[in-house]
Symmetry: C2
Subunit: 166 residues, 2 copies
DNA sequence: AATTAGCCGACTGTTTTAGTAGGTTAAATA
DNA sequence: TATTTAACCTACTAAAACAGTCGGCTAATT
């Protein structure tokens, strides 16, 4: 089992999509900007997320990605799974042939652990995350910074422009 | 976070020690034989287990390793920790400076997960494992095979010899 | 003196991670 | 219609970790 930036990036990016849902497709460039994840790396992750039918893509200008299902029906476990980061803690992938065809001494322990982790992560939907206070706080900060960046680059000045940009 | 053969081997080896406690020091060669783990690799792992004061060593013939504490007072989490396989799921080791000094969108989620896993693994002692039915079954099988191997190599034949070997 | 078994450091092939680079294709817009 | 946008795809890479090997050394027992 492993949980590295790969799985964390995937969940973070999916949560970014969830937070900005209903505003049309979100480009990977936007997610890259807001979440500080390399664009090329995001592309690789979204290729997998798309294959697992967790997101839909829209090509061309104004295009990007959208969640393919309701936020309630996407949980953290399946997002991590989609980018090939198994939540399985056994060495035999649950088959029980860990020690030359037979069950090793600690097989059941790792099965229990895997179950525990999976139960926890699959019980958390994107909607749950979106509704969390701490997530909303970070999201607000990121959005503010994102808009500021936008204004800087386009040279707009007034607070009316600022609002228009959002 | 990662949980690979390294951490699994460590727990398995410690459980082997626990199962054969009270019979004097257990050599790594014995553990290697019973659990199917490379002897040299075990040596590396036990160097770390010793540094964490989870085991005591006895040198010379008849030497080996023993648990340095009671089985009730050694839990799975600290064994995994001893061989440098952190149970931490955050990328910032819990500090919260995940995204260029500030908290990332999913920081609290990974904190919760880490807590969950740690609570689970630290709630399981070696004694708990020793008392499990499935562990006892596998242990019995391994011991039988171990004795058979011993008889084969020493050329003893009768069931009296078999008993004497144990 | 010889054997046992812990101790120690260096070295190795393989896999994964995290990312880069360079290009192609589909759709919208000027 | 030409240009731009942004998805899509393949290949490559440095660095790290994993899992294990090898050779030699030291302490204790027989």
């Amino acid at each position: 089992m492993r949980l590295t930036t790969k799985g964390r990036y995937a969940v973070t990016a999916m949560l970014d999509l969830a937070l900005h849902a209903g505003k049309g497709p979100i480009s990977l460039a936007d997610i890259s900007e807001r979440q500080g994840i390399s664009l090329s790396y995001l592309e690789q992750l979204f290729a997998k997320l798309r294959r697992s039918e967790l997101v839909r893509s829209v090509r061309g200008p104004g295009g990007g990605y959208q969640l393919s299902r309701d936020q309630v029906h996407i949980n953290v476990a399946e997002v991590i799974d989609a980018v090939n980061e198994s939540v399985d803690a056994t060495g035999c992938h649950g088959s029980g042939d860990c020690q030359s065809g037979e069950t090793c001494l600690t097989h059941h322990l790792w099965c229990d652990l895997s179950e525990q982790i999976h139960a926890f992560l699959s019980s958390i939907s994107l909607l749950d995350l979106v509704q969390r206070k701490d997530v909303q706080l970070v999201a607000k900060r990121q959005d503010r910074r994102y808009v500021d960046q936008l204004i800087m680059s386009t040279g707009e000045k007034t607070s009316a422009d600022r609002k228009a940009a959002v």
